[in-house]
């Protein structure tokens, strides 16, 4: 009993340090908050930018819902109607697509810089863990949203991902081996990707994931505001600026410029133009599958290794990376910022190379076999 009480007390102490609610007042969280100025100060704007893109997603996504029909017979036509006939429909849809990619880009950059600056260090573990959860939720947004237009690439790419979930079963022992198939059927809702899948993905994309995201985001932002900005570098310059109003004003200017950039992109460059048109034809279960089916660019880091390496290697890699990400504050507790910076550069190099040159690397490897 005594031991249990002690454990509970230890947990309470842990939480009190991570979420110091006594600091939850306007004075500490806004008026007296300061932002360090150093060579990595630019990284403090990345979290805000991710939030900006999330807000754009929320607004444009809500507007799209006025016309989108989540049935296999009407989904494609409704998206086509939005794009070609609804006033500003093309702009809204393209803004939604561009900002989803920008959100993932900023989130990854935010995460890598946070890692390099050791901003996950005690007492910011909860900020880090909620950040990892937000990253996972954002990928889930990307995956579920990809199916909704119900075109060739959407349906076929979803099938590929669901098949890879099922493949995990062969590496699991005993009755556990049937779990991935059960999970796949749970997500899919029927024997193949169809109406049940579309309904489930819509519910996830439009209701469940946003609600989860709001909850985790709230905790993340609260934790950020309670602890303030992390030091970020080993040798602080000693220079600081006030969070309110100086940093917020700068943040708004960054938001303004980035919003302009994304708006111009959305107005002038259809996101679909980067892929061949047969991929965006209506899905036809009886028709031939076009060439070039692949997931969105932000899944290349897992998709190309999956195409080139044995499945079990990817599976182990994914588990290690997932657990490693969650436990980062404890694994790298005593690691210097210099080493963290080097790891961050390596991760960045991998992500850039596999995303930009993934198809070429795949061709070379495939040719060698």
């Amino acid at each position: 009993m005594e031991d249990k009480k002690n454990k509970f007390q230890i947990f309470l102490e842990f939480m009190r340090e991570r979420l110091p609610l006594q600091k939850m007042n306007f004075e500490t969280m806004v008026q007296k908050k300061e932002v360090p100025i150093h060579r990595m100060s630019w990284a403090y704007y990345l979290g805000g930018l991710t939030l900006l893109f999330f807000i754009i997603q929320l607004v444009t996504g809500t507007l799209l819902l006025f016309y989108y029909q989540s049935t296999v017979s009407d989904a494609y036509v409704s998206v086509e109607f939005i794009t070609l006939y609804v006033k500003s429909g093309f702009l809204i849809r393209n803004l939604h697509t561009w900002s989803s990619s920008c959100m993932i880009f900023c989130l990854l950059a935010h995460m890598i810089t946070t890692f390099a600056m050791k901003a996950f260090d005690r007492p910011r573990e909860i900020t880090w863990i909620t950040g990892v959860l937000l990253l996972m939720l954002t990928f889930a947004f990307g995956f579920t949203g990809y199916l909704l237009p119900w075109h060739q690439i959407a349906v076929n790419a979803t099938k590929v991902v669901l098949q890879s979930i099922e493949m995990v079963g062969q590496y699991l022992p005993g009755s556990l081996s049937t779990f991935p198939t059960y999970l796949k059927e749970l997500i899919q809702g029927e024997t193949s990707v169809g109406q049940a899948t579309l309904s489930r993905f819509t519910a996830l994309h439009v209701v469940i994931l946003p609600l989860l995201f709001f909850g985790v985001l709230g905790l993340h932002l609260l934790s950020v505001q309670l602890h303030g900005m992390s030091q970020g570098v080993d040798k602080p310059t000693g220079k600081k600026e006030k969070f309110f109003p100086i940093f917020i004003i700068k943040d708004f200017w960054v938001w303004g410029c980035v919003f302009l950039g994304v708006f111009i992109l959305a107005q002038c460059l259809p996101f679909e133009s980067f892929s061949a048109y047969p991929l965006f034809e209506a899905y036809n279960s009886l028709g031939s599958t076009p060439d070039g089916i692949k997931p969105e660019w932000y899944f290349y880091f897992i998709y190309y290794p999956l195409e080139m390496l044995p499945f079990w290697v990817i599976m182990i890699g994914q588990v290690v990376a997932g657990v490693g990400l969650i436990l980062t504050p404890w694994i790298f507790k005593h690691t210097s910022r210099k080493v963290l910076g080097m790891i961050a550069w390596l991760v960045t190099a991998y992500l850039v190379i596999i995303t930009v040159f993934g198809p070429q690397i795949y061709e070379v490897v495939k040719g060698a076999h």
Binding site: F244, I248, F252, G256, P270, Y277, P278
Partner: protein, 190 residues
């Protein structure tokens, strides 16, 4: 009687080789490096043969008549509407005539030069001939070489973009000043 005529006509149609000219599709695919299907000229992405929408087997008697007329359009300017072709396919047929198209089968690289250099069916600012070379769809305004589309749309929307730059600039400037004012008020209170 009508059913017999239609059936005989259908049988005749099946026996005649469907008018698919994959040389053009192959050329566009090769030169652009993009995967292209029959939908670049045909109504159905799986080509003209079959029973699906836009394929010969699905045509009614009126459409079969139109198909026959299109097959006899050997000279340019026949103004026919082949029911198995899309607007771009029909545009090629009416601009060049079947005779020229059959000649170009041996030299598909000459097709874009033979087409009207001003024709832009999807109004995306990229001509149909260019789209054929680029392997993008001449009837889809969202499909085109990204840089070309960006330049054309930037030109088309420059007024909107200029107004947005002004609105964003003034908006953020106003907001910044409002925050500065609020901050000074708070400091005074302290």
């Amino acid at each position: 009687m009508r059913a017999v005529v239609i059936s005989a006509l259908l049988l005749f149609v099946y026996q005649v080789q469907a008018d698919a000219y994959p040389e053009f599709q192959r050329y566009s695919k090769e030169v652009s490096g993009r995967p292209i299907d029959c939908a670049i000229c045909h109504k159905n992405s799986d080509g003209p043969e079959g029973l699906k929408h836009g394929q010969i087997g699905s045509l009614n008697s009126e459409e079969l008549k139109a198909l026959g007329a299109a097959r006899r359009a050997f000279k340019p300017g026949a103004n026919v509407k082949n029911p198995i072709l899309n607007e771009f396919g029909n545009s090629i047929l009416n601009q060049l005539g079947k005779e020229k198209i059959l000649m170009l089968r041996q030299h598909p690289e000459l097709l874009s030069a033979a087409l009207d250099p001003t024709s832009d069916l999807d109004n995306d600012g990229i001509t149909d001939a260019e789209e054929f070379e680029d392997g993008t769809h001449p009837l889809n305004p969202l499909d085109g070489k990204p840089l070309k589309l960006f330049k054309n749309n930037l030109k088309k929307n420059r007024f909107d973009i200029f107004m947005l730059i002004l609105a964003t600039g003034f908006g953020v400037y106003g907001l910044s000043n409002a925050l500065l004012w609020l901050s000074s008020k708070m400091e005074k209170k302290e």
